[in-house]
């Protein structure tokens, strides 16, 4: 295993912890690279195809490098009813990207999530885990501009 993934040794070396291993890599690198797939396969002694299979199954795992600010627009039931599709459009227009993409500067990436569990504050989005609730157009754009300003 290359030194780049030496931190994997903090994870117990048993198949049960394969997902934990992937989560550890993603927390570290922000996504699962090809090299990471190989390294994890070697670490847990499973074929790379098995690792790829697990990665592709779970929505959490990303195979592309995310932006510095990860914008997640909630499209859970309550948010959907309160207009999350519009939020997604405003965010997409403001950032110039679609869900699943990262902008050219690597500053923002955008995704939709099923539910952030803050339904009573719908519609909500989160940026790097910080949740913003009761969004309207003005508020949404203002939040994004603030992040852009801070770079």
């Amino acid at each position: 295993m290359s030194d780049k993934f030496a931190y994997l040794s903090s994870v117990e070396r048993s198949r049960t912890y394969l997902i934990k291993g992937l989560q550890t890599v993603q927390a570290h690198d922000g996504y699962i690279s090809d090299a990471a797939i190989e390294a994890i396969a070697a670490y847990f002694s499973v074929p790379p195809v098995d690792v790829e299979g697990v990665v592709s199954f779970y929505a959490q795992f990303k195979r592309t490098r995310p932006g510095k600010y990860k914008v997640a627009v909630c499209d859970g039931t309550a948010c959907h009813i309160k207009g999350s599709i519009s939020i997604l459009e405003w965010v997409g227009t403001e950032l110039g990207i679609k869900p699943g993409q990262t902008d050219r500067d690597g500053l923002f990436s955008l995704e939709t999530v099923a539910c952030l569990g803050c339904c009573s504050l719908a519609p909500v989005m989160s940026i790097n885990g910080k949740v913003y609730g009761k969004l309207d157009r003005k508020g949404t754009v203002k939040i994004l501009k603030e992040y852009r300003k801070n770079g």
Partner: protein
């Protein structure tokens, strides 16, 4: 004036999202009295919430801000900004499982013990394991994750197994959009959930306890982790003379992993696909060891069951559904939040009396999230228990309850739920994988105004086949939103297909947008905010360019812009 002892700030996820973090920081620096972080008391609509504890009782304040004026009002026990809980909510709510939620510091072991916490575990340890199982059976407690399987029976199956290792899993993979009961319990009273698990370990002889929590709940995971460290410090993790392995596993974003065999596969580090039962997990579960899975809320009920005794627990509820149930109320109502009511409370009582929804503005309620069905207002006198809801084509589910207003389109609502479930199908069963996709495409056609009458029959025909042809709960319930809306709102489907009309003016393909010059004050806000330049300088909206994004409707201060029926709007060419 009453003397202020301390101020409690609700800092569960819902509170934090509303700005409780800033309130906490400001009050800590400026209040000059003890500040305590607590969980969620369920009144999410009023967040950020603080409780001022005085020698003459508590006063709650809502929509609190981290500002001096707001703090001054609170320190003076001012009348403004107080949380007034409606008498009807008080009447119907029964706080048992959530008794301590939002009242104590979630990460304080001592606070939980001071309220009688771990008393039930102590009591259980004076009983035999079989007596504990019997007590749970006597209580009539059924699985709160939605399945409704009797908890005592599941535990009895596991207890009867002889194996090298036995596994007990807490299913905290709360994936239903619109549901947040489990999150709230783990964030607010993690020790109560763990106490239930420890009692379960004693009763069943389990060696390894897993808590499988979705990764989207970082605060819940943090609090559970702290609580586990604390019980280890106090030696409570030694049960039946064995030191228990207690392991938190974070999910990785797959709805199907809420299903027990899929969850087990995920815990084994594999793709989370369900498998055929039998063998049931109590025979062959995690890594082939006998395994029992119970939901967070089920475990949170266990200390009550043991503490007050199964017979006393069974006093509350209906004949076949005992105890109370948590519901996450959301959607078109006045007081969204977390509520706890006795089983058997009617849907109308929950939606109108507790949730404060306006009866004239409500069309239906969706229970059980995307796996459930809608229940029209005409049937709101149905009591909430497992069997009554099943009979209506809905399900109890884990307890998400979404109120659907009269201005919502039921076809679009069904399409939305299927958009979720068809993407979450793991792909193992053909009917679920392909069938759900076909149903979804059909619904897309209908909301786009391209449906044919035969599409409606197709949906009604395919739905039951998917239910029959699928292995797990996902496929067996995923067609429910369509079948339920077809049952109660078939007229809306027919309107969309035959008349190309969406009465609720929701479906974009079937509406136009129009500006009323009578109301317009020519402020140009709409023109400035239109992303596609669809509004001319003389304030006419060109529906050929308009994307129906609602921006102009939202920004108009005079409500001059509105959705209208297709054909009523202007088209440039």
């Amino acid at each position: 004036m009453a003397e202020i002892r301390k101020i409690k700030v609700g800092t569960a996820s819902c509170g934090l999202a509303a700005g409780a973090g800033a309130v906490l920081d400001f009050f800590r620096d400026h209040a000059g009295v003890e500040i305590e972080e607590v969980g969620c008391i369920g009144h999410c609509y009023a967040e950020p919430l603080v409780e001022v504890v005085t020698d003459a009782g508590s006063v709650f304040y809502r929509d609190v801000k981290g500002e001096q004026a707001c703090l001054d009002n609170i320190l003076a026990l001012g009348e403004t900004g107080r949380l007034e809980v409606s008498p009807s909510r008080r009447k119907y709510e029964m706080l048992k499982v959530t008794r301590l939620a939002g009242r104590i510091c979630p990460t304080s072991f001592d606070a939980y013990v001071a309220e009688g916490g771990y008393g039930a575990l102590k009591k259980a340890l004076t009983m035999t394991a079989a007596e504990v199982v019997d007590e749970v059976k006597r209580s009539g407690l059924r699985g709160r994750g939605g399945g409704g399987f009797p908890t005592g029976m599941k535990w009895q199956f596991l207890a009867a197994k002889q194996a090298e290792k036995k596994i007990l899993i807490c299913n905290a993979d709360e994936g239903d959009p619109g549901a947040f009961m489990d999150r709230s319990m783990m964030e607010s009273v993690p020790h109560q959930v763990l106490e239930g698990m420890l009692i379960g370990a004693y009763a069943t002889g389990a060696d390894i306890l897993f808590i499988y929590c979705r990764a989207e709940y970082p605060l819940a995971i943090k609090h559970i982790r702290i609580a586990i460290d604390q019980i280890r410090e106090h030696g409570l993790d030694v049960v039946n003379g064995k030191k228990l392995d207690i392991i938190i596993k974070e999910g990785a974003g797959a709805f199907v992993c809420g299903e027990e065999t899929a969850l087990i596969a995920s815990l084994e580090g594999r793709r989370g696909t369900p498998r055929f039962r039998p063998p049931f997990p109590t025979d062959r579960g995690w890594n082939d060891y006998p395994t029992s899975l119970n939901n967070v809320e089920t475990f949170a009920n266990i200390p009550l069951v043991i503490g007050e005794g199964g017979a006393a627990f069974a006093q509350v509820g209906t004949e076949k559904s005992k105890g109370t149930k948590l519901f996450a109320l959301a959607g078109d109502l006045k007081y969204p939040g977390l509520i706890e009511v006795p089983m058997g409370t009617t849907i109308g009582e929950i939606v109108f009396e507790v949730g404060g929804a306006d009866p004239d503005q409500v069309k239906a309620v969706q229970t059980g999230g995307p796996s459930g069905g809608c229940i029209p207002k005409e049937l709101f006198d149905t009591p909430v228990d497992y069997d009554s809801l099943n009979a209506l084509g809905a399900i109890m589910g884990s307890g998400g309850m979404i109120v659907i207003g009269t201005d919502r389109c039921m076809v679009e609502t069904a399409r939305y739920f299927l958009d979720f479930t068809h993407r979450e199908s793991c792909g193992k069963c053909t009917f679920c994988r392909v069938g759900m996709m076909r149903m979804y495409e059909t619904l897309e056609r209908i909301v786009a105004g391209k449906g044919e009458m035969s599409d409606i029959d197709f949906l009604a025909d395919l739905g039951p086949k998917i239910k029959k042809g699928s292995l797990c709960g996902l496929g067996q319930t995923a067609p429910n939103p369509v079948l339920a809306t077809l049952r109660y709102y078939k007229n809306e489907y027919i309107e969309h297909v035959r008349d190309k009309r969406c009465a609720a003016l929701v479906c974009n393909a079937l509406v136009d947008v129009k500006l009323d010059p009578e109301k317009c004050v020519k402020c140009r806000l709409c023109i400035r905010n239109c992303a596609v330049g669809a509004i001319s300088d003389d304030f006419v909206i060109d529906n050929a360019k308009c994307t129906r994004c609602n921006t102009c409707i939202d920004v108009c201060p005079k409500h001059a812009v509105a959705r209208v029926e297709k054909g009523e709007g202007y088209y440039a060419e």
